[in-house]
């Protein structure tokens, strides 16, 4: 694990983001919409990875956090006419408070139990949103006509790409510091991190706050891109599945992995559309995810790595 950031890294980032920035020149508006979804999914998957991929506290309730961000901003701007410039930061702050709620069980339980509590959080939110103050949340039907930030696929594409790029580079830089190493170490052996004189509670809280902040940013911007929000689309096992699978498929505990996974998934779903028009696409896509997870838990990132090593010889 080396810490120095050299010109090659910067070049790779520039090529990757620059390449994506050229996309609107080559693809149709429809495909661009797919790209926008992929960018947001990448943000959600990176957020999941900060919290779960690194520290090993697997969250099955990530839509809970994203939903807090999305609903807060949507309600503030739609019901109370708060300008988006305010509603989004407030939404992110609220999501971080939600992240603290998530964090409380992590003080006492981990592993499969922690995953279950977070799943319960998500289901609880799904039911509460419909029952409590439906005049605000729009109940089962949700809210439509939420103010959108920009018009047109191209503008929205650049917005989502910019968000994803900034978040990715910030997280990537953070993960290369000692702090990033310590977070990953928690996922491997929490006792040994504590036994190295580090306050694991503080470290975990930090990971949860960063994960929640990213989820909140993603959720809030996403709702102002879609212009609508509904509980079933959000607090749903299928959505959860898409996020987790994106992170795992691409390669958890890396930054590029969740992004790779998000793009791979989105395009897989898109290309399966002509063959299987409905929800059946999840069948193929789930099978691929399951096989890859079982036989290469480190994901596509590792496969690429190994492929490269085979071609150029030696391991990078």
């Amino acid at each position: 694990m080396t810490s120095t950031i050299n010109w090659r890294h910067l070049l790779l980032w520039a090529v990757f983001l620059g390449g994506l920035a050229l996309m609107p020149q080559f693809v149709t508006r429809g495909t661009l919409r797919t790209f926008i979804f992929a960018n947001y999914l990448a943000i959600f998957a990176m957020s999941w990875d900060v919290l779960s991929g690194r520290t090993g506290y697997v969250s099955f309730g990530h839509p809970f956090l994203i939903g807090i961000g999305a609903y807060t901003s949507a309600i503030l701007s739609y019901r109370f006419h708060v300008p988006v410039g305010w509603s989004i930061p407030i939404a992110v702050a609220t999501t971080m408070i939600g992240g603290t709620l998530f964090f409380l069980p992590a003080l006492r339980i981990r592993g499969s139990y922690f995953a279950l509590v977070t799943l319960a959080f998500m289901e609880l939110m799904y039911q509460l949103v419909q029952v409590i103050r439906p005049d605000l949340t729009g109940g089962t039907r949700g809210i439509s006509g939420v103010q959108t930030l920009l018009r047109g696929a191209v503008n929205n594409y650049y917005l989502s790409l910019g968000l994803m790029g900034v978040i990715a580079i910030l997280l990537w830089s953070m993960m290369r510091t000692r702090l990033g190493t310590a977070l990953s170490a928690i996922g491997m052996n929490e006792e040994a991190v504590e036994g190295s004189g580090l306050n694991t509670t503080k470290l975990k809280l930090f990971a949860f706050m960063v994960g929640a902040a990213v989820a909140g940013i993603g959720g809030a911007f996403y709702v102002h891109y879609l212009g609508s929000i509904a509980p079933r689309a959000l607090f749903d096992v299928n959505f959860l599945f898409t996020i987790i699978v994106a992170a795992l498929l691409g390669g958890a505990s890396t930054i590029i992995g969740p992004m790779l996974g998000a793009f791979f998934l989105t395009f897989l779903l898109e290309y399966l559309r002509p063959l299987l028009p409905g929800a059946e696409r999840y069948f193929i896509y789930g099978l691929i995810a399951l096989l890859l997870y079982m036989y290469e838990p480190r994901g596509l990132y590792e496969l690429f790595h190994r492929g490269r090593a085979r071609i150029f010889g030696g391991r990078a």
């Binding site: 810490s3 510091t177 000692r178 580090l198 306050n199 503080k202 470290l203």
Partner: protein, 242 residues
């Protein structure tokens, strides 16, 4: 001579089982103390209590005369005490050097973000426990048991302890590796480190310790030189049954 670590009337129960029954003993500064007793005597539990991995039910544990009970583990480490484990569990996806460097980290989020990795110090510690330069960028999975123990010692030493609790450091090692680790421990003692050692391998333990404490079923039996303790009737009873 002054005491560096003191335990007074320490009691720990797990359900109905009394794992530590009113243990009182003290460790002199700079000494090497052996903690011996049959399987299930509660030696490892004492280590866990000293480190705060389990909370004591009652009693007092002091380092430099200052109370440790109530402090979380990481704070106790910062006070100058550390332990190793029977089964080394290194950070599996990090190379050897990165493993050691976790022990060198400052416990402040901001400092962790801005301070650079201390590769030089990490290397120096690795060298001091006898890990080869070529091993530094290996994954722990590729190491032999002896090297894993060295890695564990290195990561623990990186926290700059004054007292080290060593739990079965010889388990699973070849005689050559045992000699290496023993030499290493003796060397570190010259630098003023204090040890409490738990080991089943009494033959390897004997030359390393100044004094021994015997315990069985969580209870203190006797203390004294290695020979005195091994000749004690109660100890022979507990170990050999006669």
């Amino acid at each position: 001579m002054t005491f560096i670590l003191e335990l007074e009337h320490v009691v720990k129960r797990f359900g109905g089982l009394v794992a530590t029954n009113d243990m009182t003993f003290a460790v002199y500064k700079g000494e090497s103390l052996g903690l011996i007793g049959p399987n299930g005597a509660g030696k490892t539990t004492i280590f866990s209590l000293i480190m705060g991995e389990h909370k004591v039910d009652s009693g007092s544990i002091r380092l430099h005369g200052e109370e440790l009970t109530g402090l979380p583990t990481h704070k106790r480490i910062r006070r100058g005490i550390a332990r190793t484990y029977q089964v080394p569990r290194p950070f599996a996806d990090m190379d050897v050097l990165a493993n050691i460097e976790v022990g060198l980290m400052p416990d402040s989020l901001i400092e962790m973000l801005v301070s650079p990795f201390d590769h030089a110090e990490g290397r120096a510690i690795a060298r001091s426990v006898g890990l080869a330069e070529a091993d530094l960028h290996r994954d722990p999975a590729e190491l032999s048991m002896g090297d894993l123990r060295k890695l564990e010692l290195a990561r623990t030493l990186a926290t700059r302890p004054e007292v080290m609790l060593l739990d079965e450091v010889f388990a699973g090692l070849t005689s050559g590796e045992i000699a290496q680790i023993s030499g290493l421990l003796k060397e570190k003692r010259q630098d003023g480190l204090t040890y409490v050692i738990v080991s089943h391998d009494l033959r390897s333990l004997e030359p390393l310790i100044d004094r021994a404490i015997a315990m069985t079923q969580g209870t203190f039996v006797c203390a004294g030189s290695y020979q005195e303790v091994m000749n004690d009737k109660a100890v022979r009873m507990a170990y050999l049954g006669h």
